[in-house]
């Protein structure tokens, strides 16, 4: 870590300052000592009013929050609310009333928020300590202590990152980190249809349900299909895109821009429009089947994506439709790469008598693949989580009687969606499934990036 810091030396602390220990700061004087308890005190003493006041006010706000709601939020978190059942009791006038069970959903939310607020306060406390230490260092070495005005001016210069990131980070905190942590904690409860209001901590039960319990018979087949789908969907769109780009870029084809635009239109139309329409088009009584029957190619309708289709027919249909959607984007990106490929190698190969296929196989394709690898990994992860195509096209059908609230074409994400919004409402299992999807995503990216890095260096 120490080495890394030196690289970022521009705005970072000097060697001598880093050697100041907590004890040095503590013993520097009474104001410094007091600043450990009354945050911002030393800064105020040195006339850094804005900074000092900010620390002080935030500390007061934090302590106030802790006293009035923080402590109760945290203590409720241990049980998620003691009243688990609806009971009858007497209100203060002695009239019988029903007492609702505690709302664990809200208790958990405030509990997680409380933990995050405390974490934020610890960060603030460390910032306060660092600022205090900096003041000690400046006084001891007799350097100029920045005035209030200079401190504020630094927010537009050496501290510009703090100014610009403040609002975005608040957004990330509230709308990404808080919900993610909330859902992670939910995986360790029994929040489901039976415990819809009051629920309790149950440890790893929901993970057990997925990995070896009543849902294992669904999880593993769905996981395998998800991986097959991700490989096929990524490979077909990539290959198709490269070939289409080469066709458009090949010599003698006029109006290249126009051809590209024709294909890009498909990508531009919102997916929920094209996919819902495709579903209608491929229906048993839909336009495609009628057309094929009119032409006497088939005698009775093909069941592409109905509830009782053959599993592999539906899966193949999904992959073909996905090619229709994905190839144009892939074509756009590979065009950009093809246009920048060095031509001399290709010319040399042609003079040596290699035919177009050899050139493509041995020169063009490997080079495109090399440039595209990171993008392909991202696409692969994107396909694992490709909700739209499956949900809008097949809705996860055809049915499989052995699965628990999933169909033959369901991916892990669409299954997750069904677990939450479907009939079964197994929120805890859905949350655990989300964590498992995260683990799948993270391990694939980790392996892939490691391999590509090794590939680059070796």
């Amino acid at each position: 870590m120490a080495k890394k810091r030196k690289i970022n030396a521009e705005s970072i602390v000097s060697e001598a300052e880093r050697h100041l220990s907590i004890r040095d700061v503590w013993n520097a004087g009474s104001a410094e000592k007091l600043t450990f308890f009354i945050m911002g005190f030393n800064q105020l003493k040195h006339k850094q009013f804005a900074k000092g006041a900010m620390f002080l006010l935030l500390e007061i706000a934090f302590l106030g929050w802790l006293a009035f709601s923080g402590i109760s939020a945290l203590s409720l978190l241990t049980t998620l609310g003691p009243n688990k059942k609806m009971t009858t009791g007497l209100d203060k006038d002695g009239i019988p009333v029903t007492i609702q069970p505690d709302n664990s959903v809200i208790i958990l939310l405030w509990g997680v928020l409380a933990i995050l607020i405390i974490a934020a306060f610890i960060v603030l406390f460390i910032q306060n300590y660092k600022s205090n230490k900096h003041l000690v260092y400046l006084t001891q070495t007799g350097q100029h202590i920045p005035s209030n005005k200079e401190e504020l001016a630094s927010l537009l210069d050496s501290n510009l990152h703090k100014t610009l990131m403040a609002v975005p980070l608040l957004g990330v905190f509230l709308f990404t980190i808080l919900p993610t942590l909330y859902m992670i904690t939910m995986a360790f409860t029994n929040y489901n249809k039976e415990h819809a209001i009051a629920f309790s901590w149950t440890g790893f039960t929901s993970f057990g349900q997925i990995l070896s319990g009543n849902l294992a018979g669904t999880f593993f087949p769905v996981l395998i299909w998800t991986l097959i789908w991700a490989v096929l969907a990524t490979a077909t769109t990539f290959l198709g895109g490269v070939l289409l780009a080469m066709l458009i870029e090949s010599k003698g084809i006029k109006g290249k821009g126009m051809w590209r635009t024709i294909f890009v239109i498909v990508f531009a139309v919102p997916q929920f429009v094209t996919l819902l329409l495709m579903a209608q088009f491929l229906n048993t009584q839909g336009a495609l089947n009628n057309l094929l029957m009119d032409w006497h190619i088939i005698s009775e309708p093909i069941k592409f994506i109905t509830t009782d289709s053959n599993a592999w027919v539906s899966r193949a249909t999904v992959i073909v439709v996905n090619m229709w959607i994905g190839i144009p984007v892939s074509m756009l990106t590979s065009t950009a790469i093809i246009q920048n490929l060095p031509q001399d190698q290709i010319e040399a190969a042609r003079i040596d008598g290699a035919n177009s296929f050899r050139i493509f196989k041995s020169i063009t394709f490997p080079q495109i693949l090399f440039v595209m690898t990171p993008a392909l990994i991202q696409q692969f992860i994107g396909n694992i989580n490709n909700f739209n195509v499956i949900y809008l096209l097949t809705g996860g059908w055809p049915m499989n009687a052995n699965y628990n609230s999933a169909g033959e074409t369901d991916l892990l994400v669409t299954w997750l969606y069904k677990l939450v919004f479907g009939q079964t409402q197994q929120y805890n299992v859905a949350a655990a499934l989300g964590i498992l999807i995260f683990i799948v995503n993270a391990s694939i990216s980790l392996i892939a990036y490691r391999r590509t890095n090794a590939f680059k260096e070796g």
Binding site: N8, S11, I12, L109, L156, D157, L160, H161, L164, M165, V167, P168, G171, V172, F175, L178, P179, T180, Y182, M186, L244, I248, G252, I253, W259, R260, T261, I262, V264, I265, V266, A268, V269, P270, F272, V273, L276, L277, Q280, F281, Q285, A287, N290, L332, T333, A336, I337, V371, P374, N385, F387, L412, L416, V420, A430, G434, I435, F438, N441, A442
Partner: protein, 286 residues
Amino acid sequence: MKSYAHQRLLSLVGRYALLIFLAIVWLFPIVWIVLVSFTKNSTGFVDTIIPDNFTIDNYVSLLKNENGVFPFVNWLVNTLIVSVLSTIISTLIIIMMSYVLSRLKFAFRKPFLQIALVLGMFPGFMSMIALYYILKSFNMLSIGGLVMVYAGGAGLAFYIAKGFFDTIPPSIDEAAKIDGANKWQVFTNITLPLSKPIIVYTALMAFIAPWTDFIFSGIILGNNDSKSFTIAYGLYTMVFNSKGSATTYFTQFIAGCVIIAIPITLLFIFMQKFYVNGITAGADKG
């Protein structure tokens, strides 16, 4: 020699034929969407390629809200409000964030990029229930809440714009600094004027998103009155809230889709180039 020229001509004709065939395959469903929107609907199910009798009834009854359940014009207005607000806030957030992460050096930069990568690997659906309860407990299951969700997610959508800022040579910043500019002045007076393409791209992407998102808007606005829906969710309810996907309103649904798809398609064709630059900028670095 003659046979060689002959062969080349044959290859060119072959390639044109293939290209035309592919273009038809790709464009056909799009053309069909437009045709369906002009089809007279009696059964709620379209089984023809070319409509038997053309009609503009679908558009008329949709815009007039003749059935009284699908206030299409309200949806248009709502979506316009959401997308304008979310475009302004998201673009500001994305540009600030990506500039900071690309250009400014500070100790927290590397860890933050890693945290962002990890957060991005959680499936978005996981946080949806949580977002629902968060907004509910702040009493914000409304269009305002939807804007906040879109804008709140923008803080982690910095990759493409960051890739752009990475390509602006740092020597320009250095020169301005020597002339006495502080970092804020470098950002506003030097970098931003150079960044028009990426600002336009970011803004357009942020603008388009609310028009196509039916999932988040459905979860946040789904329990409200249908007048407060955004267009994607509203259209979605037309085909899904009745029974199955084949309903009485299918052709009207398609007409509504055509109305929103046209501007989005035009915007997209217009910014094709930015899109490619964005992807390849990300790909180059590995």
